[in-house]
């Protein structure tokens, strides 16, 4: 957890008036919120609302064109080096090399993050992939690939988890297996993109609703109705 010199915990994420455009097209405009350590924000919005752009800005992979981004006490992009290795990203792509086995992929990421290789083996077993750990990723089903990607995202015990539809392609057994790693009980602050309003609200402390790149909703989860979320997709 990020802390000040006095030992007070800093917000995991602070966004102030963040904007981002791709050429003429504005993807995000005036996004502002703060997320406490260990808290979860569920991000809702229709396709093209700016959810993935937001996630990539928080991961330090995209620069905001306006506003201020502070992640785990590090102002991005200037202090990005301070946040590296402390964020776990599970995006649309599994970020795994298709011709390497699950074990080789995780071993590679473990080395980049200075993590013991035993941690990779432990995670593979926990998500029920031990029997396929020596198979190339390209031979795995989508659900299995998602499980491997989740192992990759949490391998270095990140303080902030950025999750884009983390349960996509997972069967009920798979979802139950990964829940201790990426669920609310896992510990880190989470930014969770979901299209399942019920499940997203159940998982969240806060709700961020995006409509056309604008911040349409920012509220505690208990104050947000299902209809409010569904209205974002109308």
């Amino acid at each position: 957890m990020a802390t000040t010199a006095a030992g007070d915990s800093l917000p995991a994420v602070v966004l102030e008036g963040v904007g981002r455009a791709y050429g003429e097209r504005v993807a995000l405009r005036e996004i502002s919120f703060a997320l406490e350590p260990g808290a979860t924000v569920a991000v809702f919005g229709a396709n093209g609302a700016g959810k993935t752009t937001l996630l990539r800005i928080l991961a330090g992979l995209l620069r905001a064109h306006a506003g201020r981004v502070v992640v785990l006490g590090a102002e991005l992009p200037r202090e990005g080096y301070r946040a590296r290795g402390r964020i776990g990203l599970l995006g649309h792509e599994p970020m795994l090399y298709r011709d390497l086995t699950v074990r080789e992929n995780l071993r590679f990421h473990a080395r980049l993050h200075g993590v013991e290789e035993a941690r990779a083996a432990e995670l593979v077993a926990r998500v029920g992939l031990a029997a396929r750990a020596d198979d190339p990723v390209r031979t795995l089903s989508r659900g299995m690939t998602q499980r491997a990607a989740i192992c990759r995202a949490v391998l270095h015990a990140p303080e902030l988890l950025l999750l884009d539809e983390p349960l996509a392609n997972l069967d009920p057994g798979g979802a139950a297996a990964v829940a201790p790693l990426i669920g609310r009980a896992a510990g880190p602050a989470r930014v969770l993109i979901s299209h399942d309003a019920e499940q997203g609200l159940a998982e969240a402390d806060h709700v961020l609703g995006l409509r056309g790149g604008h911040q349409a909703i920012w509220a505690p989860a208990e104050q947000v109705e299902l209809g409010d979320v569904r209205g974002l997709y109308a």
Partner: protein, 224 residues
């Protein structure tokens, strides 16, 4: 940084051994070109400047194939994102990729050079082999450094196949000139002539200058 470079090189070596995407293509291109020259020039053998020119232009164009694919897995399979989010020195990626491209070139030359000698060169380099190896290693280092830099730049664009030759070939003209000048006397028709060592110095200087330049700017190429 050494551990990161080792992890990246090991990963790329594994990917190449599994997928055979770069080295076989570079090798096939080189050998096919030598075969085409063998029949196209309709000569029993080449020597001197012509032999050196054919060898270096062929190797350079084969290297372009490797440059095109050097960062493809990082781009298409999320390797860039994974690397950029890791707490490592980003220059490690440059060092690792340059080492990988250098190894690819050496692997290609292990087969392509004997093919060149058999198909086009009479007599072979014979006693001058150590000098030829020195030229090859220094030229490969220059090609690897520039190729890595250009490959990283080009992979971010949609016109990757166009950008790599467009930028890399003009930048590598000094390497071709120096390598061809240095190796031409080694391929002389009457046997190897005295070796012009100054061209080795030119190659070494080129490697050092572009190595430092690439080291300094590579971090910025990875930024969005």
């Amino acid at each position: 940084m050494r551990a990161t470079v080792a992890a990246l090189v090991r990963k790329d070596a594994r990917l190449e051994l599994r997928a055979f995407e770069s080295v076989p293509a570079m090798l096939m291109f080189s050998v096919s070109t030598f075969v085409l020259f063998h029949f196209g020039l309709d000569r029993g053998a080449l020597a001197g400047d012509l032999a050196a020119g054919v060898l270096w232009v062929t190797l350079l164009l084969a290297a372009v194939l490797g440059m095109n694919r050097l960062f493809l897995a990082e781009r298409e399979q999320g390797g860039f994102d994974g690397f950029l989010m890791a707490p490592v020195d980003r220059t490690a990626l440059f060092v690792a990729k340059a080492l990988v491209l250098f190894c690819f070139l050496v692997a290609v030359e292990l087969v392509a050079l004997p093919a060149f000698v058999i198909l086009l060169l009479q007599p072979g380099p014979g006693q001058a082999l150590p000098e030829l190896l020195a030229v090859l290693l220094l030229a490969d280092a220059g090609i690897a450094v520039v190729g890595t830099l250009v490959g990283a730049l080009a992979v971010q664009t949609r016109a990757r196949d166009l950008i790599v030759p467009l930028i890399a070939l003009p930048l590598l003209v000094p390497v071709v000139i120096a390598a061809a000048e240095a190796s031409a006397p080694l391929f002389a028709a009457g046997g190897a002539e005295p070796f012009p060592g100054r061209w080795l110095v030119v190659l070494a200087l080129y490697d050092a200058v572009f190595g430092l330049l690439a080291y300094a700017v590579f971090d910025f190429l990875l930024e969005e």
